[in-house]
């Protein structure tokens, strides 16, 4: 078996190539780099977090998607993965973690509780993290299997790869953040 068949490399984006050069748009080149080296911040509070541990393990190996470097500081993270029940008392903490992340940043709500409060339809539980932070992808399940988490992660990769570089500077984006009461310091 030839050396190059032992591993796969992501495909080059659409562009023009000829001997000695390859031209594409900056959006696509940056998107390709970002989507294949996401640094997730796991915010795990319950059983969905256990499924995520399996997802990071050798069998499912999220590292195959360029995400083996978990960031336990929000300041170096690209993707906030909220897994588990968020109590109302925890809500400001989730929002603060989100505020501490640098742009561009994405959020994935894993499991029924993070997405909608799940079975905990009660006075003390936040009915979905989208009450305090904007969410890009929701993963259903109680808890979801590692395959589902990987599927959700690949949906995030799709969003990251296709995002234009202007999006985070648009007035619509700023208005969206303001609607959640999130401070904008740029």
């Amino acid at each position: 078996m030839a050396e190059k068949d032992k591993y796969t490399v992501v495909e080059a984006p659409e562009g023009y190539s000829a001997p000695g050069f390859f031209a594409t748009t900056l959006d696509k080149a940056v998107g390709l780099a970002r989507k294949n080296s996401l640094w997730p911040l796991p915010f795990a509070t319950s059983c969905c977090g256990i499924e995520f541990m399996a997802t990071m393990g050798a069998h499912y190996d999220l590292g195959r998607f360029g995400a083996e470097r978990l960031s336990f500081s929000p300041r170096q993270a690209d993707l906030l993965m909220v897994m588990g029940t968020i109590a109302k008392k925890m809500a400001p903490v989730v929002q603060q973690v989100y505020e501490q992340m640098a742009e561009p940043r994405w959020v994935i709500a894993i499991g029924a509780c993070a997405s909608s409060g799940g079975v905990f339809d009660t006075y003390s539980v936040l009915q979905g993290i989208d009450k305090v932070v904007p969410v890009d992808v929701y993963v259903p399940g109680c808890p979801p299997r590692p395959e589902q988490i990987i599927d959700g992660f690949m949906k995030i990769q799709e969003l990251v790869g296709n995002e234009t570089l202007r999006r985070r500077y648009s007035t619509e984006y700023k208005e969206m953040l303001e609607s959640y009461g999130i401070k904008i310091d740029r």
């Binding site: 008392k89 909608s116 006075y123």
Partner: protein, 162 residues
Amino acid sequence: MENSILLQALNDKFGKSILSVDEAADIFTVMVDSETITTIVAFLKEKQNFIFLTDICGIHYPDQERELGVIYHLHNLTENKRIRLKTFVTKANPKIQSIVSLFSGANWMERETFDFYGVEFVGHPNLIRILNVEYMDYHPMRKEYPLEDATRLDKDDIFFGR
């Protein structure tokens, strides 16, 4: 220590404050007047050696005249004897004397009872919510409030037969 001896001691001292007695249950239970709760707890601690406060909790019986209950569990460690004191207050005036001066451990227990049932412990050094969010404007374990969260938007009553 026999229940009868303890009851005799309580009756001698607090005759008319002892409203009823229940010996059928696992723990010797005495229903007492809410006015005298601190002196009864002090008596049990200092004279009867009930030096350990196991728990304080609240309860709400909407059908009673005195709706809100506060229940104290005391433990005599040397004789391994437990006692349960029950006392009830009205919802209009849910005031009861704090026992923090007797048991420091009562501090958080009374805060929890206040948080969930709205019982005001007079003389408590710091009677604020302990478990629920600060901005909550009701006492969620009282029966008049629904268990379900009012902020939930994805439930249409039609689909749940309501």
